[in-house]
């Protein structure tokens, strides 16, 4: 590419041929005001506020810096009297339309406009077209466009109606220099304000993620919705973004597998009387945890949906646990995390905290002590399962509050406790596809949690050799227990590896070629493909290594030609005879 020499405000510089004056000036730190320009969009050149004076030989021209391609020998003045005169008038024109927009008013002050000669209009939109262009060129949704012409030109959706093509990405509001576009939340979407998932389509899954790299959420990424955008690609200097990467299925040969598929939070929508999803200030345990996190959407501030600090908070224990209608088991972790929440709320906001519990199950090391500490911190404990959360006040104290109705079983009275925020201590459930995982790995899963080989003697191995389980996929447990179990599972795998050899099944089946008639009935029965047919000898053969010794083939053989070792017909007959010794005699 050709290099050219030019002069900007007296500074001699070099640049690539046809680089825009704005780009060159910005590199030199010369400020040129822009309104309709955005680095990710093609220059549009319509607001004209970036007008500069250009001299090439004798010719003097006023051009827009954002899209004027510099050529060799050109001299640019970015702040000459003529430039200032022109910009001033342009600002007065903008004020005639938008007289109360801060960015325009600030610029106007810079150019010495005290009161614009054409008056002040009440509009917000300076028709810079950034929103229209970002919607079509970047997002690809093509929702916004210009309508009418001349002085009546306006930005609108087609026919001014709500467009179904709008994906609510907010890009238009983001680029708008005057704040003329606002994103309105649909009432039904209020819960999404504090999402559990990522706040943006590109995010690092969590602070401690390994590898610590951002990922793109295919569901919310604009590129995967419209095929456009790729803004991330443009801003990434090392060009690390690749939208073409696909999920691939990798086949990895392993000798052992540890399942740690975790749990699913109980969905409190099943308990409709708690109003989760209806009252915005009723949060699940994980929602509160996210809000409370320093890296969360509020930066760790505990606040209500309207941004206010709560003065009272209720925590309802055993939501979805120890409940005949949902899960009968105890989720083991809720009591303690509820206490942690109570402590932090007290510490951060000083709010009154009420715990509604059935029993306090503070079984671990130091847990009971923590409970006692909270009792001293003036956290209130009310024994009784909350019956209902309502926003229907019966008196003035309850107005605008959430009221928890509960039978206080210690004093034997039904109480109404008005609070600002309710946290549901939601329990743990098996993941939705637990049964499918169990089937894939040939293990059993009782109530959705995987079954260990032996509850006491083999708590991390399963009925299938080489498959181990750890963590909440095996049953609800807290972090120390999970870590312990994970360590045990890893050790179990390690011991297999370090031994260097494995024991194969001794109880396999074998074919007696003398008796095999070659009928091939057994051939299709073996799910492990251990049975094949010897075309030459016209008999069936069984592969000893593949065979796991289930004996299904032996049971099916009409010639009794298959011998299921250790479980032969004779052995089993004898066993049957044995168990019936007393009637046979």
């Amino acid at each position: 590419m050709k290099t050219i020499k030019l002069k900007i405000d007296g500074i001699e510089t070099e640049a690539e041929d046809r680089t825009t004056v704005l780009t060159i000036a910005q590199k030199l730190g010369i400020k040129i005001p822009t309104l309709c320009h955005h680095p990710l969009l093609e220059p549009y050149g319509v607001c004209r506020i970036c007008t500069v004076e250009v001299r090439l030989g004798k010719r003097i021209r006023m051009v827009t810096a954002c899209n004027y391609p510099a050529t060799n020998g050109v001299e640019v003045l970015t702040n000459s009297p003529r430039v200032r005169r022109d910009r001033k008038m342009i600002l007065e024109w903008m004020m005639a339309r938008c007289g109360h927009v801060k960015v325009i008013e600030d610029l106007a002050a810079e150019y010495g406009i005290i009161e614009p000669r054409f008056g002040r209009g009440d509009d917000d939109c300076i028709l810079c077209g950034l929103c229209v262009r970002v919607c079509s060129d970047v997002v690809g949704a093509n929702v916004l466009g210009f309508f009418n012409r001349g002085a009546t030109r306006e930005v609108s959706t087609a026919y001014g109606e709500t467009s179904e093509k709008c994906i609510a990405c907010g890009a238009c509001a983001y680029v708008c220099p005057t704040g003329a576009i606002r994103i309105e939340n649909d009432a039904a979407l209020v819960r999404q304000e504090l999402p559990l998932g990522p706040l943006t389509p590109i995010y690092v899954p969590f602070l401690q993620a390994v590898p610590h790299q951002p990922v793109i959420d295919r569901e919310s990424c604009i590129h995967f919705k419209t095929g456009e955008c790729k803004v991330c690609d443009k801003v990434c200097e090392v060009k690390a973004v690749d939208h073409t990467l696909e999920d691939t299925i990798e086949n990895i040969d392993v000798g052992a597998v540890i399942l740690a598929t975790g749990f699913k939070q109980f969905d409190p929508a099943a308990i409709s009387e708690y109003g989760s999803g209806i009252y915005p200030n009723v949060l699940t345990g994980l929602e509160f945890e996210k809000m409370n996190s320093a890296s969360g959407p509020t930066g760790g501030q505990i606040m209500l949906k309207d941004g206010e600090i709560p003065k009272s908070v209720g925590i309802i224990h055993c939501v979805g646990s120890r409940d005949e209608r949902n899960n009968k088991y105890c989720s083991r972790v809720c009591c303690m995390y509820a206490l942690k929440f109570a402590h932090l709320i007290k510490e951060k906001t000083g709010a009154n905290v009420y715990n509604f519990y059935i029993d306090m199950r503070c079984f671990g090391k130091g847990y009971e002590e923590f409970y006692h500490r909270l009792l001293e911190e003036d956290v209130r404990f009310i024994r009784g399962r909350a019956a209902e959360i309502t926003n229907y006040p019966l008196n003035e104290q309850e107005a605008g509050k959430l009221i928890i109705r509960v039978e206080d079983t210690l004093i034997g009275e039904v109480r109404r406790v008005p609070v600002d925020m309710v946290i549901l201590a939601t329990g743990l459930e098996p993941v939705a596809d637990a049964a499918e995982i169990a089937r894939t790995f040939n293990i059993s899963c009782g109530n959705g949690f995987f079954t260990e080989r032996h509850p006491k003697l083999a708590p991390v191995s399963t009925a299938t050799d080489g498959i181990f389980i750890a963590g909440t996929c095996q049953g609800p447990k807290d972090i120390p227990d999970t870590v312990a179990q994970a360590g045990a599972a890893a050790s179990a795998v390690q011991s297999l590896i370090s031994r260097g050899e494995i024991e194969v099944e001794a109880a396999t089946s074998a074919v007696d070629p003398e008796r095999c008639s070659g009928c091939r009935i057994c051939n299709t029965l073996c799910p492990l493909s251990a049975i094949s047919f010897d075309e030459e000898k016209k008999v069936t053969v069984i592969n000893d290594v593949l065979c796991k010794g289930c004996g299904t083939c032996a049971a099916a053989c009409p010639s009794s030609a298959i011998l299921a070792r250790h479980f032969t017909d004779e052995q089993l007959f004898s066993e049957i005879e044995g168990v019936l010794y007393d009637v046979r005699a």
Binding site: G45, R48, M89, W93, A96, N148, R149, A151, R153
Partner: protein, 613 residues
């Protein structure tokens, strides 16, 4: 079959709206009745240009010119002229202030001073017959360009002819072609040629007339251009308001394809080229090249910055050569008769550098306060006085000439002092107006120049696309100021403010519509500043146009109480008994002027409004 006589009936839009088709049919019927069908042929031709006098009929080879021929005149004309061989005097043209009619076309002053190059075939051939065009040396230039000239030779010929763009800018066509050809070769992208027939200026109809009277000349010019630049594709962007022109172009294209002049392997030369017609959707700004191309692409017709020219990145980012209808129509003749022939007409020595002058002819549409409204073609360098007074026949009703506006709505108004100025690209620009595409509006002393500026600014405000701030807001604010001046509420600072707005619009607007839009204001401020002052300082309108600043009076001396004005008044503002002097109620009067039209004794006048002290 040979006919002894041809009767040429004008079928241009002007005469057609005067019902010339009925005249033609009546003539045909009458000729048939008289048994002359084997001897006399009626031909419907393109516009003759003398639209003021339509419907026009010319009898050839006698060269007799009849005007205002209605269907009812047909029997008489046929009987007298075609059967008996006597010219029909009462239908001949009689110039104003003369008594005897002029029988021959070429002796009529309107035609005598004209130089027909682009319009050479107007009224002479049937525009819907390709054979007529070929008989008039049509498509001979194609043969020369395809088989005897290289593309470089064609470009060099056009450059040496000094042909400059007739659409308004006056950019040398040859230079444009060369740039386009080089850009295409350099980038390896196929270029396109486009014909701009989006003639949006109010009162202008040059391009329409050229297409309507000689569509093949435009097509031939485009084929030559395509050959020189190396295009396979061409477009004619025509405004939707021109249905007859489009119809004729479609027919012409079909005929040209049938004759192997368009399509693949043109005349066996191996060149492929075809033309598609695209209709505009009624936006003035689409005459601007980048807006036109955006519209061609199917996008909203809005201009973009032209720092990178359309000859490099135009239609679909391909090198695009855009020329106006008249420019294209000039091309075949230049190739056919040579650059020297063309450059011998007009001003300056253009053989070395096309910027040195203005060669060839220019077509103007002449409207306004002028006797001979119509379409004319004159050599470059002719003076405004010759055009207006010799060809145009001067100002009607013996009024005084005040100004002529050239170059369409964004042109400027030139005063009497400039009447002896030669008409060419550079002189007009220097005087603060422009050539534009050739609209010419003549104004008499009853015109208010502030109102004229206001009218054009209002038109442009309507037509501004609104994309860039200075054009959208500058025109709007200019219009507000002009409105208040014409209503007598102007401030002394308004003149300076208008001047400033105009200068900044020239500096800052995105496209040529915007940068040229202040011309009506600037030229009237330059030549008629006293009228602004009269409006602002004295609250008076010297032209007697601005309604807020005038009032109507009935002169009791002249009024004979005929009651005609009373019947004419729509708001019953005039009272009085028959044969007694009438009186006018100023409170009711809406100053529509109907009473003045109705009064036979010129008893009603407009006077400056009187203000209570």
């Amino acid at each position: 079959m040979a006919f002894r006589t041809h009767v040429l009936v004008c079928a241009g839009t002007g005469c057609v709206s005067g019902n010339s088709y009925a005249t033609a049919t009546a003539l045909e019927n009458e000729i048939f009745k008289k048994g002359l069908a084997q001897e006399v042929q009626v031909i419907r031709t393109g516009c003759q240009g003398f639209c003021a006098e339509g419907p026009i009929v010319i009898v050839q080879p006698d060269g007799v010119f009849y005007c205002g021929v209605m269907a009812k005149d047909a029997p008489f004309v046929v009987e007298e002229h075609l059967v008996k061989g006597r010219h029909v005097k009462k239908l001949m043209y009689t110039p104003p202030e003369e008594k005897s009619p002029i029988p021959a076309l070429k002796e009529i002053p309107f035609f005598a001073k004209q130089k027909l190059v682009v319009l050479r075939n107007r009224g002479a051939i049937d525009p819907e017959k390709i054979d007529d065009y070929i008989a008039a040396d049509g498509y001979t230039a194609i043969e020369k360009a395809l088989f005897h000239m290289t593309p470089d030779q064609i470009i060099s010929e056009i450059k040496r002819s000094g042909l400059r763009g007739r659409g308004g800018g006056g950019f040398p066509a040859g230079v444009k072609w060369e740039t386009c050809r080089h850009a295409a070769q350099h980038r390896g992208v196929e270029p396109v040629v486009v014909c701009n027939a989006d003639e949006g200026d109010p009162g202008a109809f040059m391009d329409r007339s050229i297409i309507e009277s000689d569509p093949h000349s435009v097509i031939e010019g485009m084929i030559i251009g395509a050959r020189a630049i190396g295009c396979k594709e061409g477009f004619i962007y025509i405004r939707r308001e021109y249905p007859i022109a489009r119809e004729r172009l479609l027919k012409a294209l079909e005929q040209a394809r049938d004759y192997g002049l368009l399509g693949t392997d043109i005349l066996g030369s191996g060149m492929d080229f075809d033309i598609e017609i695209v209709q505009g959707a009624g936006a003035f700004v689409c005459g601007e090249s980048t807006a036109l191309m955006a519209s061609l692409e199917g996008n909203a017709g809005e201009p973009r910055a032209k720092y990178i020219h359309t000859v490099e990145y135009g239609y679909k980012n391909r090198p695009t050569n855009l020329n106006n209808v008249e420019t294209w129509a000039n091309v075949p003749l230049i190739i056919h008769r040579g650059a020297h022939w063309f450059s011998s007409m007009g001003t300056g020595n253009v053989a070395e550098n096309p910027w040195n002058g203005s060669s060839g002819t220019k077509v103007f549409s002449m409207v306004g306060k002028i006797n001979n409204t119509g379409l004319i073609e004159v050599p470059m360098g002719i003076t405004l006085r010759e055009i207006i007074f010799d060809i145009g026949g001067g100002i009607p009703s013996g009024r005084q000439f005040k100004a002529v506006q050239t170059g369409g709505p964004s042109g400027g108004c030139l005063p009497e002092s400039h009447l002896d100025m030669p008409v060419d690209f550079d002189s007009l620009t220097e005087a603060g107006s422009m050539m534009g595409s050739g609209g010419m509006i003549v104004m008499d002393d009853q015109t208010c120049m502030v109102d004229i500026a206001r009218y054009f600014i209002a038109f442009l405000t309507e037509e501004s696309c609104g994309k860039c701030t200075p054009c959208r807001e500058g025109l709007r604010t200019s219009l507000e100021i002009l409105d208040r001046i014409t209503q007598g509420e102007g401030q002394p600072s308004d003149v300076d403010l208008l001047q400033e707005i105009s200068e900044i619009m020239q500096d800052c607007c995105l496209c040529a519509l915007g940068t040229s839009a202040p011309n009506p204001v600037l030229s009237t401020l330059r030549y008629f500043k006293e009228e602004y002052d009269a409006h602002i300082n004295n609250r008076q309108c010297p032209g007697g146009v601005c309604k807020e600043l005038i009032e109507y009076i009935i002169d009791p001396e002249k009024c004979d109480g005929c009651h005609a004005c009373v019947r004419g008044c729509a708001v019953a503002a005039i009272m009085g008994e028959v044969k007694k002097t009438h009186a006018l109620d100023k409170a009711k009067c809406v100053k529509c002027g109907a009473c003045i039209e109705a009064c036979k004794r010129e008893a009603i006048r407009k006077i400056p409004r009187s203000y209570a002290a």
